[in-house]
């Protein structure tokens, strides 16, 4: 009965229907907001409350060695950029007084003018402030002043090994040298913190949307560079260039028993902490690895070892030296003298740097009087396959050039070219390639891939040695012993005065510069390569000096620099003489 009366239109029924209708609207609206539009509103909420914060990875440090201990060459320092919002700065005179007292040389010119630019909201007043400097300014509670934190590379040893190191550009990417060559290992990976934040942007741990991916810092790399050797090599190279009045020079010091590079230097150089001030881009280039050239007579040491290893000569083998030799109608002369010297030993051919002796070896690799295809194949096998000419060594620094060597199965790879190659012309090689090949012929015959990486350094400063690079036998141990002795005789025969009781040997090279496709008779590059030590060679040093319009000689200009460094190395390595 009661239900019937309600249906008849009582006010209560009407109110109930209205309430139901309103509730239905609410339910529908809530359903729309919470179910259908759920994802949209959650996304809007997250965009407002959850902020992704990048955790920057710290770039790996670069160390050199000091004996057995790693010492930092490149480290990171947190510095601050101080900026002002001129529209909100209230006490300009206090700001100026403070930054003049604290910022010193980091202050931008005319800060008062920068603060007077009232239509700007951002003016940089000082850069490169240290933590202490920034804190002293912060303590003054200056209105309208802010700080931006950034990490910069610092070079405690100044420009030492600058071209080997390279630098990091404003985008944080390594340029040149190890910084570029090992950029991936040094960079690490940035981390990510995605978190609910308060109105000030402070991350809060509440909420289930937090993502915390820690930053993976870059590896700390220890180079094989010995900072003491590097410093002395740079000093000796600069002194040698000054003596010869030559503008350009390069040097490399290697451990022939391991392929470790102890020093690489090039002049002119630059300051990596202020790389923008470099005289030219060429100052960034590490010519030792990136500038191939015709190395000249230093290659004769490789030719002799090839001849001995192939069994076509011995140090005492002779040939008839007429002062010149004809190959396929082209006359090749000795550089030192074109006079006929008659019967000559291979030792003399090396000591006097006779081109005819080297061409004779090439002919003996063929049929005895011609540089046949077989002879050219053999030479290519040694120079390209065994010594690695014409291909990169895989050194860890950026910008390595493979050099150029012409294969014997090409038109250009004829007998005349190969007759030139055996005394160092007709192919372009880098100093690194030559030093690595030379190391192999005086260390027992083993070619070690050259390397710049000693290992990695952990956060406690402990060194973890790198895995040794590949090596392979290129000449026999007997051949190596013979060429090593010949190089010692060569050095003594050319009047070098080395300390008694040590095995020191080497070879000069003077190569004509190629200018517009023609060999110049007025511009030459002087080169010297040699080794030193006791029973086993402890170091190989290669020097190159050059300059536009200069006639620079291996014996007169490069050899004295070798001697200077070699004598110092014997003391530095504390090698006792054989008769001590």
């Amino acid at each position: 009965m009661r239900l019937v009366s309600l249906r008849k239109g009582s006010r209560t029924a009407f109110l109930g229907v209205c309430l139901l209708a309103v509730m239905a609207i609410f339910v529908v609206r809530l359903f729309y907001l919470q179910i259908i539009k759920h994802d949209d509103y959650v996304a809007q909420s997250n965009a407002e409350q959850i902020k992704p914060l990048t955790i920057p990875a710290q770039r790996g440090l670069i160390y050199a060695m000091d004996g057995d201990s790693p010492v930092p060459l490149v480290i990171n320092q947190t510095v601050y950029t101080m900026f002002a919002d001129p529209t909100t700065v209230t006490d300009t005179s206090k700001v100026l007084d403070t930054i003049r007292k604290v910022a010193g040389g980091n202050l931008r010119p005319n800060p008062e003018k920068l603060l007077a630019i009232k239509d700007s909201r951002y003016q940089v007043l000082a850069t490169g402030l240290t933590h202490d400097q920034a804190q002293m300014i912060k303590d003054q509670n200056l209105t309208g002043i802010g700080f931006q934190q950034e990490s910069q590379r610092v070079y405690p040893e100044g420009s030492l090994a600058a071209q080997t190191l390279g630098f990091v550009n404003d985008a944080g990417v390594g340029q040149y040298g190890v910084e570029q060559g090992m950029n991936t290992q040094l960079s690490g990976h940035d981390g990510l913190l995605k978190s609910v934040t308060d109105v000030s942007g402070v991350p809060l741990t509440i909420g289930n949307q937090n993502i915390d991916k820690p930053a993976q810092n870059g590896e700390n790399i220890a180079l094989t560079i010995d900072r003491n050797v590097q410093a002395y090599v740079e000093k000796a190279l600069a002194a040698g260039l000054a003596r010869s009045k030559a503008p350009d020079g390069s040097a490399i010091v290697m451990d022939p028993q391991t392929g470790h590079i102890l020093a690489m230097a090039n002049l002119p150089s630059y300051d990596p902490s202020n790389y923008g001030a470099a005289a030219s881009d060429s100052a960034f280039q590490n010519a030792v690895i990136s500038t191939p050239y015709e190395a000249g007579s230093v290659v004769k040491s490789l030719t002799i070892s090839m001849g001995i290893n192939q069994g076509v000569i011995t140090p005492s083998s002779t040939y008839y030296n007429k002062g010149s030799i004809v190959v396929d109608g082209t006359t090749i002369q000795n550089a030192s003298t074109t006079e006929s010297l008659g019967t000559t030993t291979m030792q003399t051919a090396l000591t006097d740097s006779l081109n005819t002796g080297m061409v004779t070896i090439a002919e003996r690799l063929g049929d005895g009087s011609n540089i046949t295809q077989s002879a050219r194949n053999t030479i290519y096998d040694y120079f390209h396959d065994r010594f690695g000419f014409g291909q990169p060594t895989g050194i860890e620094a950026a910008g390595e050039s493979p050099g150029i060597i012409i294969a014997p199965n090409t038109v250009q790879g004829n007998a005349v070219r190969y007759s030139n190659m055996v005394f160092g012309q007709g192919m372009d090689i880098t100093m690194l390639q030559m030093a690595s090949a030379f190391s192999s012929i005086i260390n027992g015959g083993v070619y070690h891939d050259p390397t710049l990486v000693e290992g990695t350094v952990d956060s406690n400063g402990n060194l973890k040695p790198a895995t040794a690079k590949p090596s392979h036998q290129v000449v026999s141990a007997a051949t190596s012993a013979q060429i090593k002795n010949m190089l010692q005789v060569d050095r003594k025969g050319n009047g070098a005065k080395d300390p008694a009781g040590y095995d020191v040997g080497g070879k000069t090279g003077t190569s004509q510069a190629l200018i517009n496709g023609q060999y110049s008779f007025t511009q030459t590059t002087g080169t010297y390569i040699g080794f030193g030590g006791t029973s086993a060679a402890k170091y190989v040093i290669m020097i190159q000096v050059s300059g536009p319009g200069l006639n620079l000689q291996g014996a007169a200009d490069a050899s004295p620099i070798f001697g200077d460094i070699s004598n110092w190395m014997l003391k530095y390595l504390q090698l006792p003489p054989a008769n001590s």
């Binding site: 010492v71 930092p72 480290i75 990171n76 320092q77 947190t78 240290t130 933590h131 202490d132 610092v154 405690p156 040893e157 100044g158 030492l160 308060d198 402070v202 991350p203 809060l204 741990t205 509440i206 900072r227 003491n228 410093a231 003391k571 504390q574 006792p576 003489p577 001590s580």
Partner: protein, 121 residues
């Protein structure tokens, strides 16, 4: 809130067992009826009070968690500050032990070149 006066009543229920004509074990024989009866308004108020208390408890805990966040943030900031100071000291140490610094030191300048060198066998 209104209270309805009631008479305290005790009911005794006697259930007969078909098996032994006695009382079954562990069966309630007395039911207590409270003298205080809550009306609908009182119920609503109590529920609202409980919700309020629970809400306050939740807010207290959430605020406490947030305050921990600020403390953690402050400690993180201190760690970052100390790390910066550590790296500054490392830079200073590296500069002080750099070759050029060492070579220009008074100790190095006072050194002399040995006249002769002997080697231990």
């Amino acid at each position: 809130m209104s209270y309805q006066a009631t008479t305290q009543q005790f009911y005794t229920t006697r259930r007969r067992s078909s098996s032994n004509n006695g009382w079954n074990r562990n069966q309630n024989t007395v039911a207590f009826v409270s003298q205080v009866k809550l009306g609908p308004v009182a119920h609503t108020a109590l529920v609202a009070l409980m919700i309020t208390v629970l809400g306050l408890v939740y807010l207290t805990q959430a605020t406490r968690a947030t305050s921990y966040d600020y403390q953690a943030q402050k400690i993180d900031s201190q760690i970052a500050d100390l790390s910066t100071q550590k790296s500054d000291l490392e830079v200073e140490n590296a500069r002080l032990t750099a070759l050029e610094t060492v070579q220009n030191s008074n100790v190095a300048k006072a050194m002399t070149t040995p006249a002769a060198t002997n080697y231990a066998q």
